[in-house]
């Protein structure tokens, strides 16, 4: 018996030895990489190859794609004067060494052709220069006049493929264009592409307009108009120009916003100096009151899943952000920092709420999680207001007014900033601008 035991012990010992031996033989050097940088990725956007009239289009496409990518702050397009391989020579097979030599990590190449039906066919390919393989390749067909949208869609694809996030370049912005002196300010609804192109006015400035917001389809805008000196919430159909008032309330309605599914409008309704949050179903026209409090409840915003609503209220003594269920129950205060908080806007991704904060005479644009934790302030100024999210939930647009003084009334302009807080850009508009709203991706 004891011999058996000893034998067993020997076997165990031997196999343990053998195991250790093989493990050692297979073991290899393992190294943890825990540091890196966050720098814009060097990317080469080669001119899209086209012949005849399409030659210019090809160059335009590359230019718009590169500038979209550059504005995102995540890419740094390389000057095409440095390119070694000519666009015509790429033809589906880049010489990757040439592109590595100019430090490109990714390469965009493309071809634009005119089809017999008069449309253009844009073929693009995104290449990983170091892995030496194609990352994505697509064809778009469109009327020649729509080449800009094609460029934005290509840029969206590149952004998405490389960052893992959805793009936001094929989007539009509606905002309030402001002209004239402070005493006779003319405010008009205006719309433009996300890069400032295709700008046009939607209202003529006869009535004061405020707080435009897009519907989920990007085809309608809800906003506040002082038509006939009565502040009311309206809906404007962008393609037809048709306007309608939202519900015929005897009192002032304001701070409208579409629900994510586009079927409801959520807004504030003011009665005898008090305001509460209401929704109106656009199909049944049924109105539902969600808050009933002596305090001022306003600026409601749905979570993307429509289960919760964020709004601001001064029920606790000062203006703060609250979250409630979509039926108005379970009201919880979420902002507890110093200062006052206003205009909560739920991210389309659902993970954050953007807000305006006032503290010690200064305004901030910030974000916090829906439970109120993780507050971060991204932008500040004499007056910053009106945060609105890009559809991918990574970039926020807002407006900033400078203090002015003396004869200088100050100026008001649009800006965008990404969630890292580092990439702030002015959005150039023909006149002064406030109250931007970012559209969802255009279908």
């Amino acid at each position: 018996m004891s011999q058996m035991k000893r034998l067993l012990g020997l076997v165990v010992f031997a196999s343990a030895l053998w195991c250790a031996g093989t493990m050692a033989a297979f073991a290899e050097l393992k190294i943890d990489i825990t540091r890196g940088s966050v720098e814009p990725m060097p990317i080469a956007v080669s001119r899209f190859v086209g012949s005849g009239a399409e030659q210019a289009t090809g160059a335009d496409l590359a230019r718009v794609i590169a500038s979209d990518l550059e504005r995102s702050g995540l890419f740094s397009p390389i000057d095409d004067k440095a390119f070694i391989q000519r666009p015509e020579a790429i033809r589906g097979a880049p010489r990757f060494g040439d592109w590595r030599q100019i430090n490109a990590e990714a390469l965009v190449s493309g071809v634009v052709e005119r089809q017999t039906d008069g449309r253009i066919k844009v073929t693009f390919q995104l290449w990983d220069v170091f892995a030496e393989q194609q990352m994505v390749g697509l064809i778009f067909r469109a009327q020649p006049s729509a080449w800009r949208r094609v460029a934005h869609k290509v840029a969206d694809q590149i952004y998405k493929r490389i960052t893992g996030e959805n793009g936001y370049f094929d989007t539009r912005i509606v905002y309030i264009s402001e002209t004239g002196p402070a005493t006779k300010r003319i405010k008009r609804l205006a719309i433009m592409d996300q890069d400032g192109e295709n700008h046009r006015f939607l209202t003529n400035g006869d009535h004061l307009v405020l707080t435009p917001r897009f519907s989920a389809s990007a085809q309608e805008i809800t906003y506040l108009s002082y038509f006939q000196n009565q502040p009311r919430v309206y809906i404007l159909h962008i393609d037809t120009g048709q306007q309608e008032v939202v519900g015929n309330f005897p009192n002032m309605t304001f701070a409208p916003r579409f629900s994510p599914d586009g079927n409801k409008i959520i807004m504030s309704l003011s009665k005898e100096g008090n305001s509460d949050v209401y929704t109106m179903d656009l199909r049944t026209r049924r109105v539902k009151r969600l808050t009933d409090h002596l305090a001022i409840d306003t600026s409601p915003s749905f979570a993307p899943d429509e289960r919760y609503i964020a709004f601001n209220s001064d029920r606790g003594g000062s203006q703060q952000i609250y979250v409630m269920d979509s039926d108005g129950r379970n009201v919880k205060r979420i902002s507890f920092g110093n200062g006052r908080y206003a205009t909560p806007v739920w991210s389309p991704r659902g993970d954050l709420i953007a807000f305006t904060k006032m503290h010690k005479g200064k305004f901030y644009i910030g974000v916090m999680r829906p439970d109120g934790k993780g507050e971060r302030l991204l932008a500040s100024g004499y007056l910053v207001e009106g945060p609105t999210w890009a559809p991918n939930g990574r970039v926020i647009m807002f407006f900033r007014q400078t203090a002015g003084g003396g004869n200088d009334p100050g100026t008001v302009k649009l800006y965008s900033i990404d969630l890292t807080g580092y990439n702030e850009r002015e959005i150039v508009t023909p006149a002064e601008a406030s109250d931007p709203a970012w559209s969802p991706l255009i279908p």
Partner: protein
């Protein structure tokens, strides 16, 4: 007389005693100071041997790049269109294809202005050009890891202390992690060597900003090296995960990690006599916690 002597003796003794009591301690004070506790920081060897964080250097000098020889064994990716290639993600991918069949006309806000209605954009997948390999069957699920925090990377105006701008972004100056290094031999490869390899790869790694708040994103890259330090082969270990729906962040991370390794090629300062020790390396890329 005797009494006087007694008194002076007493006084003298008193003086001596007083001197001892009040005077001597001051001689010893410095020594007491010496015995005060000294702060000792216990660090791992790897920490010490880590080269100091680099001053933000230009991403890479062109010379270096020019020297990169083409990998002797090109990735088995046929560059010309591969007819039978399959669309990258499996069909149930949650993403709608870039575009529904036909795009609604661009909204026309000013009806009175006559403009051609916006044309439908009809993108289609370039099946023939897509050289992405078909998705392999789902791989083992990764164990859920603790949520990574990237707060060091994000700007917050609440903090008065200026944080490094994105242009000089050393991710982990705050929290250097000791390297995990194991070797096959009894005498491990010197820490300096593996630290140097680590540094060379870290210098080239551009963390995808999109992945900043995503959770479990560890990526392993297995490489084999030629004796001159050139990366002969580099593979994403859990490649299958890249093509699963909802793993776009992982794919971005994996691809950025692969790029970092390839960009670092050829690795420098490797001891030739220990080739067997560094011929095969597995890098584990994990965002700083």
């Amino acid at each position: 007389m005797r009494f006087g002597a007694a008194i002076s003796s007493f006084l003298l003794h008193l003086c001596v005693a007083a001197l001892v009591y009040f005077g001597l301690p001051s001689f010893f004070e410095p020594e007491f100071d010496m015995t005060q506790s000294i702060a000792v920081e216990i660090v791992t060897i790897a920490d010490i041997s880590n080269p100091p964080p680099p001053t933000p250097a230009p991403k890479s000098e062109p010379l270096d790049k020019a020297e990169i020889p083409p990998p002797p064994e090109p990735l088995p990716e046929p560059v010309p269109p591969e007819p039978e290639a399959v669309p990258e993600p499996p069909p149930p991918a949650p993403e709608p294809e870039p575009e529904p069949e036909v795009v609604a006309p661009l909204p026309e806000p000013e009806p009175e202005v006559i403009e051609p209605p916006a044309p439908p954009l009809k993108p289609q997948r370039l099946a023939a050009l897509d050289v992405e390999p078909p998705p392999t069957p789902p791989s083992k699920p990764e164990p859920p890891a603790e949520k990574q925090q990237f707060d060091t990377l994000l700007k917050d105006l609440t903090e008065s202390a200026p944080k490094p701008r994105a242009s000089e972004p050393e991710l982990t100056q705050a929290a250097p992690t000791p390297s995990t290094v194991t070797t096959a031999r009894d005498e491990p490869l010197s820490m300096t060597v593996s630290d140097s390899i680590r540094r060379q790869v870290e210098d080239k790694w551009n963390v995808p900003a999109g992945a900043l708040e995503a959770g479990d994103l560890d990526v392993e890259i297995a490489i084999s090296l030629l004796p001159d330090g050139t990366v002969r082969k580099a593979e994403i270990v859990d490649r299958a995960r890249m093509f699963q729906p909802g793993e776009e962040y992982y794919r971005s991370m994996a691809e950025s990690a692969l790029r970092a390794v390839l960009q670092a090629s050829p690795l420098r300062d490797l001891p030739p006599d220990r080739y067997e020790d560094w011929r095969e390396i597995t890098f584990r890329f994990r965002p700083p916690v």
